[in-house]
Subunit: 185 residues, 2 copies
């Protein structure tokens, strides 16, 4: 079993995410960041500094090429294009078995230590979380309306439906626990 973050090709998950976006066409670091925010960012996030750090490494490894594009009304930009080697590596990664990483939720961490805080504080945290999830759910439903019948977005829609299912599960859980906390002394 290799690392959770590094593959046999020696690339990290973030590098593959970037390659995946580049497979739709050449992009600059800035454009990649924007594109991520609008789509894949819902399931894989990376800091701006991180994607800028990753790009030169992809070029070094022969997974992408780059050229400077001079612009007149905007700052110049460095545009990256995926290579055949890059596509091959991405393809292999897609088919490789998946290793998920451990859960890390500050929210659930606080719930776990719920016995060390007043009941009302915990309830407030859960209500807050519930409200956030409700907002998320609305956002997802809005996106759903826009992409549900667009065959181009089918796989985005599949991940979106994961979000919808999870959000509804969150709300059910929150309601159940809030009711229970309300009945407690």
């Amino acid at each position: 079993m290799t690392t959770a973050t590094r593959d046999s090709t020696g690339l990290s998950t973030t590098e593959f995410a970037v390659l995946g976006l580049l497979s739709f066409g050449p992009r600059s670091g800035y454009e990649l960041k924007k594109a991520a925010e609008a789509g894949v960012g819902y399931v894989w996030t990376a800091a701006k500094s991180h994607v800028y750090g990753v790009l030169p490494r992809l070029v070094e490894g022969g997974f992408a090429t780059t050229r400077r594009v001079t612009q007149e009304r905007r700052p110049d930009k460095q545009v990256y294009r995926i290579t055949r080697k890059g596509r091959r590596a991405f393809q292999e990664w897609l088919e490789a078995p998946i290793e998920e990483r451990g859960a890390r939720s500050p929210f659930l961490l606080k719930v776990f230590f719920g016995g060390l805080m007043r009941n009302e504080v915990l309830a407030a945290h859960i209500e807050q979380k519930r409200a956030e999830v409700v907002r998320e759910l609305e956002e997802y439903r809005e996106i759903e309306g826009r992409i549900r019948d667009d065959p181009q977005s089918y796989f985005g829609y599949v991940t979106l439906r994961w979000g919808l299912t999870q959000a509804r599960a969150w709300i059910r859980w929150a309601d159940e626990i809030l009711r229970e906390l309300g009945e407690r002394p």
Copy 2:
């Protein structure tokens, strides 16, 4: 808005997780790691090297004290005890508003790029994931049987029920998508 990882007291979430465990009694690095695996680790993980790195910093900041315990039949150990300042900081953190971090699921990342792989490969990934979640679900149900009527474990049980709800939602999602992929050309 301060950092997502660092609080106003200057501590990271992992440091608070450690403080939380220390609030149940003095522990060595090794014991903390073990304790985490059996409980809080389901919602917050940290590498061994990380908890060993965090402990001296807690002492430096006055959140914990430490003393060497010499043992005869085992290697000596360094035991850490939470201080009043540590408890206060932990308490404050518990009550502070929560910032969740961005989602990072290699699995969903692959699903997002599902259009770039053969249908059967994607289906295999989802089946694999489903099987893992079913195993998790069984594990959770087993734990549930052990702690459901123990009032000491109430808040652990609350987080466990989150796991149960999410696992069931995962399975529903997987079944729905697998059916759909099966009907596709």
